[in-house]
């Protein structure tokens, strides 16, 4: 009985959503359809800075476009993927609970393969040309997969190491040096347990730094000899693990947990995916003021992160308008502000006016903890098909001790 009432309610709610047609090529029809919509945006809610920034975005799109933006905070975006999957199996094709989602390459690959995404739409956004895609091909590629307009670039990330300079004078700058350093400083470094995002990223970073043939990592894994390519990685980890935190018997759950261990002093060397995160951690009293950050000499893994729209989103027009606003110079500059979030912009400075460019200049506080500018060689993400075999090989070797 209770469920029939829910059914009725759902039917009643669904009616006004159906009539809102829009034409992607005619942007004004999109903003018109978007006006008055409520957009449910699923995004990781684990960082108060990110949450604060999304709150700001919600105020802006409310004032500019009459859109009510609701941040659906998830601990892991896979929770949202599960729900969309449940909706698809239930035949829910146009009244999905999620309108916009912040996803990474692995989830993007899985969702695109299963037709769980709406698109293409991203390249039709008025602000997309500001990313200068011809000069910056990485905004059209997610973990080597062509994006094809199914998601819109939002920010940049790059593996950045950080250390407490009061305890570590000269940090290791490549993978072999890291092993030597760990031998001399037992228990002061670790990496999160794969398949957490940071853990798997560390495996990829180490593999890129150790293998003789990095180029095969950019092809599907089926075309390569997995055993031979990854053998140096496992040799390396076998040697490294006894010198890790808790002797490699226990691993932190994720990147944020690793930052907590740095703040507690249990670790003296760690890494993050957001180059400004260590400086932000100092500002937020989470890390020692003597924290310094740097890139590895051989280059570090970097990627662009995106927002996507599920195939059954109920408020697609609203989601597109929000995605377009996220790419605007104003929103991107506010996001890069160290006191707000510090996430690097995806816009190409050459496409902006001098006045707009000025907004992206970094400010002074905690600047000592920022990594040196333009010093990090960017390594592209390997093909996503490598992820699952890497993770399961890791599980086989170290998952149960």
């Amino acid at each position: 009985m209770r469920h029939t009432r829910g059914l009725l309610l759902a039917a009643m709610l669904a009616v006004p959503g159906i009539g809102q047609a829009f034409e992607l090529s005619e942007w004004s029809t999109v903003t018109e359809a978007a006006s008055g919509q409520t957009v449910y945006w699923s995004a990781w809610g684990g960082d108060s800075r990110v949450n604060g920034y999304i709150d700001w975005v919600a105020e802006q799109v409310d004032a500019r476009h009459d859109i009510e933006l609701v941040h659906v905070k998830v601990g892991d975006i896979a929770e949202t993927v599960s729900r969309i999957l449940a909706e698809k199996s239930a035949g829910n094709k146009r009244e999905g609970a999620t309108d916009l989602m912040w996803i990474n390459g692995e989830n993007f690959a899985a969702m695109k393969e299963r037709d769980l995404l709406y698109g293409p739409w991203a390249e039709q956004l008025p602000n997309f040309p500001l990313t200068a895609p011809e000069q910056n091909p990485e905004v059209r590629e997610d973990f080597t997969l062509p994006v094809e307009g199914y998601e819109a670039p939002w920010g940049r990330a790059q593996i950045t190491f950080y250390h407490d300079s009061a305890r570590v004078a000269e940090p290791p700058r490549n993978m072999p040096a890291l092993l030597d350093w760990a031998r001399e400083n037992p228990g002061r470094f670790t990496y999160p347990k794969p398949p957490s995002f940071f853990g798997t990223s560390f495996l990829k970073q180490a593999l890129l730094g150790l293998t003789d043939s990095p180029e095969v990592l950019y092809e599907p894994v089926d075309d390569a000899d997995f055993e031979a390519v990854t053998a140096p990685l496992w040799r390396y980890l076998d040697q490294l693990h006894p010198h890790l935190w808790r002797e490699g018997q226990d691993f932190p759950a994720g990147g944020p947990k690793m930052r907590q261990l740095m703040g507690d002093g249990e670790l003296s060397l760690a890494f993050t995916f957001t180059p400004t995160a260590p400086a932000a951690g100092v500002l937020d009293h989470q890390l020692a003021p003597s924290t310094r950050s740097y890139y590895l000499g051989e280059g570090t893994l970097g990627n662009v992160h995106f927002v996507a729209v599920p195939f059954n989103a109920q408020h697609k027009a609203g989601a597109l308008v929000v995605a377009n606003f996220l790419m605007s110079p104003e929103a991107q500059a506010h996001k890069q502000d160290l006191s707000v979030w510090g996430d690097a912009t995806v816009l190409d400075m050459s496409r902006l006016s001098a006045e707009q460019q000025q907004r992206f200049e970094p400010e002074g506080r905690a600047a000592a903890s920022l990594p040196p500018q333009n010093a990090g060689t960017l390594l592209r993400e390997p093909h996503p098909s490598w992820i699952e075999p890497l993770e399961s090989a890791w599980r086989q070797r170290y998952g149960s001790q």
Binding site: D47, K73, S82, S89, N104, S400
Partner: protein
């Protein structure tokens, strides 16, 4: 006559609604997990039944360790908690220590599992509060040592975390059961025959008490073998417990892992059932072995030693809990707080100020959900109990089991199936769904807390009112409810606290649109800022505590001219 008829109709239908609310979600949720476990999930291309998910599950490295860990931590924590409670009750039942402890029970129960676990982790970690207080003057350490606790591979930290939450729960459940099995009378008789307290308790009260405690103990075992939050914070990682692994698989970006995850969820159900079966067999064994001992007439069983153990174990449980909460309070006012400083200096209110803006909505939504779920459960529970007085007999064992269903079936096993069902029925995720979902977990606790007082109310009050011409509704509203107001409010406060602490049902049934203090706290805990987590955990604690205070004060306020009502039970 119509009033009497409507009374009968309403009261007789409420137990059925209760049974429906409790069993429908659990069974349909289990069915929702069953199909993918055997390869059926058309949205992922699974269109024929197969055993492949189970074969894949069997190949997971360390599966045996996961099962062992779940079983050992579940059975171990239940056994330790029960032992502490029984020894404590036996040694101190008729002493002032027991009465003092009773006052602490409700607030202790109000501490959410996640908050207690986070606090305990900070207390005992290598960089935790204990090590900070001892460093560097005693340990000589300027930087934290490197030892694996919490997160030790035996699961000791996990067991400890479970015990400090289960002891108060079992104590609360014993309160009603002790009265029901006439513990005081039994003790008095045994004491007059020369048995000292503990022996008297074990030989005369336990045989009557345990059958009444059995289902609560089973609920403890079920929770301890299958819980996710505590095991995530205090349990080991290589491997983790089965429940944590299942949640991990359900969240794997590789969508085909969902099949294996469903098989894992069912395996979790089997593991929990196996733990319950193992416990039941142990019960039989203990009964058989101790039969002679009950009647051997010996008056002593190492009284003093056990009393000492019980007193210190209880102190340890309470002390750990209080220190864990104190640690959280300190973090909420901490700036940068490095090892080995034992206090955050200077303290700051900045964290609270920064968090204040974002707290309004989660507090409001927590309140809305908790009040809604508690009210709904209260109506159903009162109806079911009133129906008992109508039929003049208590619940059948079958109905009793249904009451415990949501506490016995691991929620990872049925909640995901429930989300499928929710999507299939086209019910919008949101406040209403979350309230219904919470009621499934709130109702059993509310029932358990209220049933005893309700059944003990002297039926002659009602008979007297009827003989003075009052109709059945008037007797119910004007006599029974006011007389029972105090226990009803206490039970409502327990239900309210249960609702505030729910994580998975809120997250899944609300599709993340309903943000409560608990969902905020857990998602922030993944972000690693202990200051914010501490603030949320403290608020998560403050709301239920407020509920308990209201439950205590309201009757006194309402009945200040009718003080006799406060003493009627």
């Amino acid at each position: 006559m119509t009033a009497a008829l409507s009374y009968r109709l309403v009261i007789r239908s409420l137990p059925w609604l209760t049974i429906g609310l409790l069993s429908l979600p659990v069974f349909s949720g289990l069915a929702g997990a069953l199909a993918p476990a055997f390869g059926w999930l058309p949205a992922l291309g699974g269109e024929q039944l197969s055993l492949a998910p189970w074969r894949e599950l069997a190949r997971v490295p360390g599966l045996n360790d996961m099962l062992r860990l779940s079983l050992v931590s579940g059975l171990g924590s239940a056994a330790i908690s029960l032992a502490v409670v029984v020894l404590f009750l036996g040694s101190f039942l008729q002493s002032p220590v027991y009465r003092r402890l009773r006052r602490w029970l409700a607030p202790l129960l109000a501490v959410p599992h996640a908050a207690a676990a986070i606090g305990l982790a900070f207390l005992l970690a290598p960089s935790g509060w204990v090590m900070r207080i001892l460093s560097p003057w005693l340990t000589g350490l300027d930087y934290p040592p490197d030892f694996a606790f919490p997160g030790d591979s035996w699961g000791l930290a996990l067991i400890l975390g479970l015990v400090i939450k289960e002891v108060p729960f079992l104590l609360l459940m014993s309160l009603a059961a002790l009265v029901q099995c006439r513990a005081d009378e039994r003790m008095t008789v045994a004491r007059s025959l020369g048995y000292p307290p503990l022996t008297a308790f074990l030989k005369t009260v336990m045989p009557g008490l345990y059958p009444l405690l059995r289902l609560p103990v089973y609920a403890v075992i079920a929770f301890a073998t299958a819980n996710v939050e505590v095991a995530m914070i205090l349990g080991p990682t290589t491997p983790s417990t089965l429940a944590v692994a299942v949640v991990g698989w359900l969240h794997d970006p590789d969508l085909t892992t969902r099949f294996m995850a469903s098989a894992g969820a069912l395996l979790q159900l089997l593991a929990t059932l196996a733990a319950l079966l193992g416990w039941w067999l142990m019960e039989r064994l203990v009964v058989r072995l101790s039969r002679g001992w009950w009647q051997d007439g010996r008056r002593h069983c190492g009284e003093r030693g056990w009393a000492l153990v019980a007193r210190w174990a209880m102190r340890l449980v309470l002390g750990l809990m209080l220190l864990a909460l104190a640690g959280l309070a300190l973090w909420s006012v901490a700036g940068y707080w490095p090892f080995p400083q034992s206090l955050p200096w200077p303290p700051t209110l900045g964290n609270w100020q920064n968090a204040a803006d974002g707290l309004l909505s989660p507090v409001a939504q927590s309140l809305a959900v908790a009040l809604g779920a508690t009210l709904l459960s209260l109506v159903l529970v009162l109806g079911s109990l009133e129906a008992e007085t109508l039929r003049r007999r208590p619940l059948r064992p079958g109905a009793q089991l249904i009451l415990y269903l949501p506490l016995l079936v691991p929620s990872v096993a049925f909640l995901f199936g429930l989300v499928m069902l929710q999507a299939q029925l086209g019910q919008q995720p949101g406040l209403l769904a979350v309230i219904l979902g919470h009621a499934v977990f709130v109702l059993p606790y509310l029932f358990l807390s209220l049933a005893e007082s309700y059944r003990r109310l002297d039926p002659r009050w009602a008979q007297q009112a009827r003989s003075l011409g009052a109709g059945p509704w008037r007797v119910f509203m004007g006599v029974r409810l006011p007389m029972l107001l105090a226990p009803i409010l206490t039970a409502a406060a327990v239900g309210f606290a249960v609702s505030i602490g729910q994580y998975l049902p809120t997250l899944l049934l609300g599709a993340g649109r309903v943000e409560t203090l608990t969902t905020e706290a857990v998602s922030l805990a993944s972000g690693g800022d202990r200051r914010l987590t501490a603030i949320h955990a403290l608020l998560q604690l403050a709301l239920p505590a407020l509920g308990f205070v209201l439950a205590l004060l309201l009757p006194r306020l309402l009945f200040r001219r009718r003080r006799g009502l406060l003493l009627s039970h």
